[in-house]
């Protein structure tokens, strides 16, 4: 399935993700105003901005959790603006949630196995996985990749916060992701766990692009090649990390704004 993703990016469908004039209203409040973003296949980008800048709303529009009020969203050239969320996911889009959205009553293994089922044809299967089941095997590999093998039989409700954040990432890596939206994956992680997160992000296959929302500049700027600054629901600045970091306006707005 990887080869499909690679083939499509090789054909040169301009952008992995393309937003044109995306606006999202909540009543009279504009959470997003005329957002236009183009992300190349395999590109890794950070979205920065203070609370209420519209970063998570941007993610919700892209994944279809709530559709944009106007504008279009294209995913590898295909107009997905009006697709239900599951259709977008089946096309290789993935996301993680700022507040872990897991299945606390199920084990780690079942959580990851479910994620693998969701993007396969076996999602309605009434048959239990047999030993050597392909989906079970890929779940096993994902659990290894996020270092959760020792706790895979535990219920998610028993996991530490950091482990839940890692599981959140494992769910997003199931199947053949082409583009991932990470919503503050480092939130609440210890310095060691942050290093591990950086390692997981940088070791993703090169064809998988992502957008990461991250307040911690140390994490954000180490794992991306471009940065989008948002402010009050609008795109405020775009550029490479060094430009953004040294931009006086950005510093005043965000970095110097009393943030950690």
């Amino acid at each position: 399935m990887d080869s499909v993703a690679q083939r499509i990016s090789a054909i040169g469908v301009g952008a992995a993700l393309e937003l044109r004039g995306v606006t999202r209203m909540f009543g009279a409040l504009a959470a997003l105003t005329d957002v236009t973003i183009t992300v190349r296949p395999g590109e890794r980008r950070a979205v920065l901005g203070s609370n209420g800048a519209g970063k998570t709303t941007l993610f919700n529009c892209v994944t279809g959790d709530f559709p944009p009020s106007s504008g279009t969203i294209r995913f590898f050239g295909e107009d997905i603006t009006h697709f239900p969320p599951y259709e977008r996911i089946r096309r290789g889009l993935r996301r993680t949630y700022q507040i872990s959205a897991l299945f606390p009553g199920l084990t780690v293994q079942d959580n990851v196995y479910l994620a693998c089922c969701g993007v396969s044809r076996g999602r309605f299967s009434p048959l239990r996985p047999r030993p050597g089941d392909a989906l079970m095997h890929s779940a096993e590999l994902l659990i290894q990749a996020v270092h959760l093998t020792p706790v895979k039989q535990r219920r998610v409700s028993e996991l530490a916060h950091g482990q839940q954040r890692q599981l959140e990432i494992a769910l997003a890596l199931a199947g053949a992701p082409r583009f991932i939206l990470f919503d503050e994956p480092a939130a609440g992680l210890s310095p060691t766990e942050r290093r591990e997160l950086i390692e997981i992000l940088t070791s993703l296959p090169a064809h998988i692009g992502y957008i990461i929302i991250e307040h911690d500049m140390d994490v954000a700027l180490r794992v991306v090649e471009s940065v989008t600054m948002m402010h009050n629901g609008r795109i405020f600045k775009e550029g490479v990390p060094q430009e953004i970091e040294s931009d006086p306006e950005v510093q005043e707005l965000y970095l110097g704004g009393g943030h950690e």
Binding site: A101, Q109, G118, R123, F124, P129, P150, Q153
Partner: protein
């Protein structure tokens, strides 16, 4: 977290087939009590006479099967459907309409092996359609819609004479007769019921750990996340209704073979609520719950009357006793009898642990 985990991970061998079988384990057949119950049920005709065999155990298993379909929807899917008895009743009516009965002007006279699959297919279709309406809602609104479907069908059967024969219903419905066996005579019928109930029980247990059942539990816990994993949440819910409708339909076919008649009274709204009570009293977290609930319900229904009369009270108040029992169980445990049982076992285990610990230190 990370460093210690790395070490532990390397110390352990990679996942083996045996460890993977955690997903395949039967959750309820790991304790001896389950085996004792299974053996007792199998040899029941040697112990119990005809009345107990059918009126108590047969009825328990039939009501348990219908409640099981609610347990599947409510426990795994988070959807409380009050129309499960309506679906069962629909299957029963279809057996009467397509098969042979005393109302020759209505019944089409098909042999049972044609009428029964037809009834099951139509009941499944009926329940799936109802489910397709209900899944657009959540919580209390699901209860309302399914209750409305149940009530509507009840009033429809009351007033429709062409197919459902109005409030008289359909009587003297023929039951299967083949291989020189009358399958409605007590012992063969008990085994037909037991086999069907066991089949449904194990099917629900099995599916609960298969992708379909796991996904249903995921839909219950976090539908939004399930959509973000590629699941079509509503399609999954409707499929769950389809499976539950089939199970309820099987219960309905057994029900109509048991009583050999069906009328609007068999599918009245209070009967629908009985199914909810049975499932909640037994516990909706596990497939065994509905059967425990059905047993308590049938025992109370059968003996509460005599018991009340002995106390010098009006025997018709037996529902009061059921109601009080319901309140008591739900008050003490949010997960019915199963919840009480599990709490008791935890307490015993904790007490044992304590006494062992004391000895160890002493």
């Amino acid at each position: 977290m990370s460093l210690t985990q790395e070490v532990r991970f390397q110390a352990k061998p990679p996942a083996t087939a045996a460890r993977r079988s955690g997903v395949i384990a039967w959750t309820e057949f790991d304790n001896p009590a389950a085996w004792v119950v299974a053996v007792l049920l199998l040899i029941m005709p040697l112990i119990a006479n005809g009345f107990f065999l059918i009126e108590i155990f047969g009825t328990t298993l039939i009501l348990g099967t219908i409640s099981l379909s609610l347990m599947f929807l409510a426990g795994y899917g988070g959807m409380v459907s009050l129309m499960q008895l309506t679906i069962a009743g629909f299957a029963g009516y279809m057996v009467a309409v397509f098969g042979v009965s005393g109302s020759a002007n209505i019944s089409l006279g098909w042999p049972w092996w044609l009428a029964t699959p037809m009834a099951l297919a139509l009941a499944t279709a009926f329940g799936t359609l109802g489910g397709a309406l209900a899944v657009r809602t959540e919580g209390i609104y699901t209860i309302m819609i399914t209750l409305a479907i149940g009530a509507a069908f009840y009033y429809f059967t009351n007033q429709n004479w062409a197919i459902f024969n109005g409030h008289t219903g359909i009587n003297t419905i023929a039951t299967p007769h083949f291989w020189a066996v009358d399958w409605r005579s007590d012992i063969p019928f008990y085994y037909v019921i037991l086999a069907t109930a066991a089949l449904c029980y194990f099917a629900v247990l099995y599916v609960s750990r298969a992708p379909f059942g796991l996904a249903l539990q995921g839909v219950r816990d976090n539908p939004r996340r399930m959509a973000a994993l590629g699941f079509n949440v509503n399609a999954h819910r409707v499929s769950a209704y389809a499976l539950a409708s089939f199970v309820a339909g099987l219960g309905g076919v057994l029900q109509v073979w048991n009583y050999r008649q069906i009328s609007p009274g068999s599918i009245a709204v209070e009967r629908c609520i009985d199914i909810l009570i049975i499932a909640v009293v037994g516990g909706i977290s596990r497939p065994v719950g509905p059967f425990i609930g059905a047993f308590i319900f049938v025992i109370l229904r059968t003996f509460a009357l005599d018991f009340l009369v002995k106390l010098g009270l009006d025997g018709n108040r037996f529902r009061l006793l059921i109601g009080i029992g319901f309140l008591v169980i739900v008050f003490w445990s949010s997960d019915g009898v199963i919840g009480l049982w599990e709490r008791w076992r935890r307490n015993v285990a904790a007490a044992e642990g304590r006494s062992r610990g004391d000895r160890g230190h002493g």
